[in-house]
C-alpha cells in the first residue's frame, strides 16, 4: 500500500467514525423526541455489541487446525477468572494477555 493509499484508508476510517458519532445529533435535534424504537435499540444494542466484539476478536481462531483455539480459551478463562476475583479491568486484561503470550511463545509453539 502506498502512503497515499494509507492516508485514504485512515481518512475513510476517520470520516466513518465521525459519521457514527455526529449523526444522532444531526438527525435528532434536541427539540424533537427520539423514536421509541431507536430508544429501545439504544438500550439493548450495547450488550449485544459487546458479545459480538468478543467473537470478532476470535474470528481468525481455527478450532480444527493448529492449536485448536486452546490457548485462546485458556487465556479467556484466565481473563474472566481475574475479572470475577478482583474486578480490576487493568489487571484482568494484563493477566490474560500475558498468559496468552506465554502460551503461544512457550507451550503451543
Amino acid at each position: 500500500m502506498t502512503v497515499t493509499q494509507q492516508i485514504i484508508t485512515i481518512g475513510v476510517c476517520v470520516i466513518g467514525t465521525m459519521l457514527t458519532r455526529y449523526l444522532p445529533f444531526i438527525l435528532f435535534s434536541s427539540d424533537r423526541t427520539t423514536p421509541k424504537y431507536i430508544e429501545y435499540l439504544g438500550k439493548v444494542l450495547p450488550a449485544a455489541i459487546f458479545g459480538m466484539l468478543v467473537i470478532y476478536c476470535l474470528k481468525d481462531v481455527s478450532f480444527v487446525s493448529g492449536s485448536h483455539g486452546i490457548p485462546e480459551l485458556i487465556a479467556i478463562g484466565v481473563t474472566a477468572g481475574l475479572h470475577f476475583r478482583f474486578h480490576q479491568m487493568l489487571l484482568s486484561i494484563a493477566g490474560g494477555t500475558l498468559c496468552y503470550m506465554l502460551l503461544v511463545q512457550f507451550v503451543f509453539v
Binding site: Y22, F28, K59, T79, G96
Partner: protein, 244 residues
C-alpha cells in the same frame, strides 16, 4: 452571559473547578488507556509502522477497537470501501451513545462539538454515569473527562509507537490484549444487566454467522442478525421491564 471584564476570572475558576471534579473520575481510564495505548503503539510498531501512525489514529479516529483493525487494513490490499463499511460496523454503537447523550450535551456551546468528537466507550460511560457535584459546570466537567481521556490515549499510543522499536522481548500474542479488553467489557456489562438476552443474542449471532461466513465477511450478517433478533424480542424484553 454578559461580556463584562469580571467574567474572565470567573470563567477560569469555573474551568478549574470542573477539571478538579473531572480528574478523579478519569484515573482508572488513565491506567487502562496508557496500558492499552502503549500496547497499541507497540502493536503498530512491530507491524512495521512509525509512531506517527498510532499517534495520528489515536488523535483523529480515537476508537480503540477500530484502531487495532486499521493495522490489519494497512497491511492488506487497498480497499477503501471495505474500510469504510468496516468502520461503520465497528463504530455503529456510537450512534446509540449519541442518542443517549442528546439531552446531556444540550447547552454546552462550542464544547458540544468536541464532546461528540471524543465520544468513545469509556468517555461515554463516565459522562453518562458520573454524578456531577452541585456547583460544577456540567459542560466543562464532561469536556475535561473527554479531553483527559484522549490525552491518555494519544500519549500511550505515541509512547508505545516510539519505544516499541527498543523492545527486545518477543511480542507474539500481544494482539490478544484487544480480545481480553472486550472479554472484560462484556463481563462487566454482563454483571450489571438483569437480563442477559441481548448479550446472548450478540454472542450467538456472531458465533453462528462466523460458522457460515468467512472471517472477513461475517460482520454484516452478524449486525443484521442482531438487529432482527433484538427487533423480534422487543415486546418480551420491554414488557418484562428488564431493559435497563
Amino acid at each position: 452571559m454578559e461580556n463584562t471584564e469580571n467574567t474572565v476570572p470567573a470563567r477560569s475558576s469555573v474551568r478549574l473547578t470542573a477539571l478538579k471534579a473531572a480528574f478523579p473520575h478519569t484515573i482508572p481510564i488513565m491506567a487502562g488507556f496508557l496500558f492499552l495505548g502503549i500496547a497499541y503503539g507497540i502493536y503498530m510498531n512491530v507491524s512495521g509502522f512509525s509512531f506517527v501512525y498510532p499517534m495520528l489514529t489515536a488523535l483523529l479516529v480515537y476508537g480503540g477497537s477500530l484502531e487495532f483493525v486499521i493495522v490489519s487494513m494497512l497491511l492488506a490490499p487497498f480497499a477503501p470501501l471495505q474500510a469504510f463499511l468496516m468502520t461503520l460496523m465497528i463504530q455503529a454503537r456510537h450512534l446509540f451513545y449519541g442518542i443517549s447523550m442528546l439531552d446531556r450535551f444540550k447547552d454546552t456551546g462550542w464544547k458540544k462539538y468536541y464532546l461528540i468528537f471524543g465520544l468513545c466507550d469509556e468517555t461515554f460511560s463516565i459522562n453518562y454515569t458520573a454524578e456531577i457535584p452541585e456547583g460544577v459546570d456540567k459542560g466543562w466537567f464532561m469536556f475535561f473527562v473527554t479531553l483527559l481521556n484522549q490525552i491518555y490515549w494519544v500519549a500511550g499510543s505515541t509512547l508505545g509507537g516510539i519505544f516499541g522499536s527498543f523492545i527486545s522481548f518477543n511480542t507474539e500474542g500481544l494482539g490478544f490484549v484487544m480480545a481480553a479488553m472486550f472479554v472484560v467489557i462484556f463481563l462487566s456489562n454482563w454483571e450489571k444487566e438483569d437480563n442477559h438476552t441481548a448479550s446472548l443474542v450478540g454472542l450467538a449471532a456472531a458465533a453462528a454467522c462466523r460458522l457460515f461466513f468467512s472471517a472477513d465477511d461475517f460482520m454484516i450478517p452478524t449486525m443484521i442478525a442482531i438487529l432482527c433478533g433484538l427487533t423480534l424480542l422487543r415486546q418480551p424484553l420491554e414488557r418484562g421491564g428488564k431493559v435497563q
